[in-house]
């Protein structure tokens, strides 16, 4: 269970996150949509303390943090409860696919190497890359790299996996395999907070869609409700532009 209360982040005086409140149930899949530069990525980065929020309270499972008073230990604890999937994969270039997945288990969770590698092999199996265990990132396709990125996040056994536009830098041919893996995780009720422009994914997979603009949550609801009868004019305006640019979800 995750609770975000009044989360605020300013860059040079401008509020990029302007008091975000959001609760996420265990096993819930939330997709965040909205125009560029409205703080969607910053929201994810603040939950993981890749950006330090200026105000707010976070509850991540058994951890409660007032971000203004977060100690180094709180930050490490928060990071262990949230796993991050990056837009550009960000795999460790000096480590194989297997080692990328096992690294956190060995170094952060202090598992013995054998146990960590065994777990990493299970995960490689689940992400369909068992045959790439010893491949280095440079020899993997974009889609394969991102699946390893997701595998690394799965290994962390975090309260929630944060996906920051996971398909935005992929060539179109690799998008499906990454979305497919995310759907598989969703079916296993892995708690997910996903920032994406893939409206079809939001429509099919999300339990709840959150529309953000100007650092605030404007509107949220089940996908059918948000896509078919958006209440706020800003939501309607955004959806009209986005759906004109990409094929509409089938049910629309």
């Amino acid at each position: 269970m995750i609770q975000i209360a009044n989360l605020t982040k300013r860059f040079a005086g401008t509020a990029v996150l302007d008091g975000i409140d959001l609760d996420i149930e265990q096993g819930e899949i939330i997709v965040v949509i909205g125009p560029s530069g409205t703080g969607k990525s910053t929201l994810l980065r603040c939950l993981n303390f890749l950006e330090h929020p200026d105000a707010g309270q976070l509850t991540l499972g058994d951890l409660q943090v007032d971000v203004t008073r977060a100690s180094r230990r709180d930050i490490l604890a928060a990071r262990r409860r949230t796993a991050f999937v990056f837009q550009n994969y960000a795999l460790f270039a000096n480590k194989t696919a297997l080692e990328n997945i096992a690294e956190g288990l060995i170094i952060v969770n202090r598992w013995p190497k054998d146990k960590a590698h065994a777990r990493a092999r299970e995960i490689l199996e689940r992400i369909g890359l068992a045959d790439k265990a010893d491949a280095y990132p440079a020899s993997l396709s974009g889609g394969q790299q991102q699946r390893v990125g997701i595998g690394r996040a799965m290994a962390a056994q975090a309260e929630v996996i944060l996906f920051d536009e996971p398909t935005s830098s992929l060539d179109p041919e690799w998008v499906e395999e990454v979305l497919g893996l995310m759907k598989q995780l969703a079916a296993e009720r892995q708690t997910m907070l996903v920032v994406t422009h893939e409206m079809g994914f939001a429509q099919d997979v999300a339990d709840r869609v959150v529309f953000m603009e100007g650092g605030r949550i404007v509107e949220q609801g089940p996908p059918a409700q948000l896509f078919q009868s958006p209440q706020d004019p800003r939501t309607r305006d955004f959806l009209r532009k986005v759906l004109a640019a990409q094929p509409a979800p089938q049910t629309l």
Binding site: A90, Y136, A138
Partner: protein
């Protein structure tokens, strides 16, 4: 009469080779010390530690901005005037000191560039899974920075081997100093200096071969 006295040259080889260990020892000692100092300087520059950063920049500026020979003369002939305990200093120690300080200035900058050059998103990925800064440096950044820095550092090592020849100006009889003495005795300057040039050349080529093998190993993870 032939152009070169080959018998003389062949006879000279074992004599000169007996001075090669000293040359290599000075270079090896200089390299180890310079590498250690350069790592410290690079970390100061990367972390921009207040005060030390400015001092480091001044240090690098001076030792890159003045000739090595001037620096060696400063340590050997100049400094003892100010600091009397340095009158004990011998030519070998002064040479190692000079090589260390001079080359650490260059090496610090290439190590710094290699560290800064590691993709920032990998740093974020390491932090996101809960690694500390120390773990992130040790496991992710430094191994990749090493790969980038090794070719330039090896080039500095090769340069350093050749630079040890300046030690003869401080009265050290190393490879170059020995050649000078032999040539002065026989008057066969051309033969003596060709011989020593070939010895330096072979040593450097052997190192360059080792460098290529090392680089191939370090690059294994990055080839498609």
């Amino acid at each position: 009469m032939s152009v070169l006295d080959f018998d003389y040259m062949l006879g000279l080889v074992p004599i000169l080779l007996s001075y090669l260990p000293l040359t290599l020892e000075m270079a090896a000692a200089g390299m180890v010390l310079a590498l250690a100092l350069a790592c410290g300087l690079a970390v100061i520059r990367v972390l921009k530690i207040p005060g030390l950063n400015a001092a480091t920049m001044l240090f690098i500026s001076f030792f890159r901005g003045t000739p090595l020979l001037v620096q060696l003369f400063l340590f050997y002939y100049g400094l003892p005037q100010l600091l009397h305990f340095l009158t004990q200093i011998n030519g070998i120690t002064a040479t190692i000191m000079g090589l260390t300080l001079h080359f650490s200035a260059y090496m610090a900058e290439s190590i710094r560039a290699a560290i800064v050059g590691v993709d920032r998103s990998q740093t974020e990925a390491a932090l996101s899974i809960g690694m500390t800064n120390g773990q992130l440096m040790r496991r992710i950044v430094l191994p990749q920075a090493t790969r980038v820095a090794v070719p330039t550092l090896m080039n500095y090592f090769i340069d350093m081997i050749k630079a040890t020849s300046l030690a003869f100006t401080l009265g050290v009889t190393e490879l170059m100093g020995a050649t000078q003495k032999e040539a002065a005795g026989s008057f066969l300057y051309f033969e003596a200096f060709v011989t020593v040039a070939v010895i330096y050349w072979i040593v450097v080529e052997l190192l360059a071969w080792g460098q290529r093998r090392l680089e191939a190993r370090l690059n294994k993870a990055y080839s498609r």
